[in-house]
């Protein structure tokens, strides 16, 4: 079914059908109705490829997600959902590319065949080949997270540094003197994953400012690792009375470890961190944490990308969110033994 067939059946020319559809030039009510009737009857919709070819745009956004091998965290899933949702609202489709590196076939297909009008990149590294690649290609893009050179690109991010610092200060205010940072995995840190590095730096800085003892320990992004992490912490750093976490995926394990070793929260151990709200509220006791607004971030990313597509020459804009830390039940005064 194509526009020519509709035109034939409605007894008009193809252009009239096209104009009736787009409304870009007036069409008499009578012919418009006749055309619409035929369209409804045959269930016609313009061919997307032809339209894309003609208009030079695809009405499709690319979303680059971590490879399938890596299990998506709840937060990442939140981004995907919110991006897809926001795109759908703008009548845009989303093409998925599961890719880590630069030379991934699916990534290359996505960006270099004019398949999409713009790209949203998740899980950015401090030095990220894909960003360079996209720059070279001249394709509009927005990243969730930012690189070490943030000024040339459009991005949306959470200010992990400030949030971790606030957590440390909050805990210090409560009298804690030994605080541990439950960081992301060693591999991620080695790969130059920004949030982990920024959290590390801010943690060290805040610990230093308050004259505290800090323990910065990485942890793989899964429950089992979280459980082990807590055991090791209790074992090797008995002086620690509070934890700052940015590792959402390790929370269930942390919880199990706490229960297994029968540690009372917050009486014996305070915890404050950064997590999706859903995760923080699922923790027992509920976690004092900065709730990462994934929904909002995905929507912002799409909005920024649309701006960028509309005016690629405009200076890149950023959005660094510092969500408030919601006081829940996992932090309390340090025991004064």
């Amino acid at each position: 079914m194509n526009i020519g067939e509709i035109a034939r059946r409605a007894g008009v020319s193809r252009s009239t059908v096209s104009y009736a559809l787009t409304g870009r030039r007036p069409v008499s009510a009578e012919t418009r109705q006749r055309i619409q009737a035929v369209i409804d009857e045959l269930g016609y919709r313009p061919n997307a490829a032809a339209r894309a070819l003609k208009e030079g745009r695809t009405r499709t956004l690319g979303l680059v997600i971590p490879p399938a091998s890596a299990r998506l965290t709840d937060m990442q899933l939140g981004f995907v959902a919110s991006v897809v949702e926001a795109a759908a609202q703008a009548d845009l489709d989303v093409l998925l590319s599961p890719s880590g590196g630069d030379h991934d076939r699916s990534f290359e297909r996505l960006i270099s065949g004019n398949r999409v009008d713009g790209v949203i990149l998740m899980e950015i590294r401090l030095e990220d080949e894909r960003v360079t690649r996209l720059h070279r290609e001249g394709l509009p893009f927005v990243t969730i997270g930012h690189t070490a050179h943030p000024h040339g690109t459009c991005w949306v991010d959470v200010d992990y540094g400030t949030l971790v610092a606030r957590c440390v200060h909050h805990l210090a205010d409560l009298g804690h003197r030994g605080i541990a940072l439950l960081n992301r995995s060693t591999e991620l840190i080695a790969a130059g994953y920004g949030p982990a590095h920024r959290a590390q730096a801010a943690f060290a800085e805040a610990i230093h400012q308050r004259g505290l003892t800090g323990v910065d320990l990485p942890c793989a992004d899964d429950p089992a690792a979280g459980e082990e992490w807590f055991e090791q912490l209790r074992d090797r750093h008995p002086g620690v009375t509070a934890i700052t976490t940015i590792n959402e995926a390790a929370l269930p394990g942390l919880q199990r470890g706490i229960e297994r070793l029968d540690v009372a929260v917050p009486r014996e151990m305070s915890i404050a961190g950064v997590a999706a709200r859903h995760w923080a509220e699922g923790f027992r006791p509920q976690l004092t944490a900065a709730d990462v607004p994934t929904l909002e971030m995905g929507a912002h990313a799409v909005a920024l990308l649309l701006e960028r597509i509309a005016t690629p020459t405009a200076p890149p804009r950023h959005l660094l969110l510092t969500p408030p830390i919601s006081l829940r039940d996992s932090t309390g005064p340090a025991r004064t033994t």
Copy 2:
């Protein structure tokens, strides 16, 4: 950058470039190399829209996921990941459509503008408008899950009925006389969600066969509901000594409820169910469960869809998986009080 420009620079015609690229007709080694050199230099890739227009296929699959508002379960996420992965392996892209109903704009865009060569549908209802719609459109599709009329369509599913029955029999063999079914949500059941209905029927049947007392209770798909579910169970059905679950998302809550009420598993309460392996192994004690092979199912769905695209007239094929129940640590003999 287009094929004409490449042709010009390589000093050949456009068709030669095209043939050098596709290999559909012999090109002398010398010219092929010259062309390749130009292509590499300029980083040319054929325009996807033009190719789709000419070839009449998009090399893209559509994946219809539950709307973003509904939080994806781990199992659903597993399907998405495996479908995307399998598609990438076949050099196909995946277009996402978050849609529940039939009249969703994004769903309509997906299926009626020739945007995709085929569609994979998740979260099928027993009576599903979208299936009807796809049939009418004549677009090849495969569903994960199946409708009440399974013979006309291609699908991949887990045999919830058999698995639930096996769980019941396993528990009955261990001497349990009162068994509860931790089902999916009331809304899902009301909406005609197949797995919930089939589990229900098989549960009732097995309970009857073994002359047991069965309690079939729905539960919303989230941890909080799981916790409440368990409390109510203990409260109202003290005779129940075993649980069969098909509600993965409620597991963390079930776990919390068990811990809070200080119930020993499996000494006081046995649990067997259906869940992603990841989830079952994360449970404490590890859950005796049929591990839903999401990875395999996604790959199968893609394979079936590709078959269907290649030969749309072939009789539809199905795949009903009955993964073995892995004995772990959550089931044991009923207490003989």
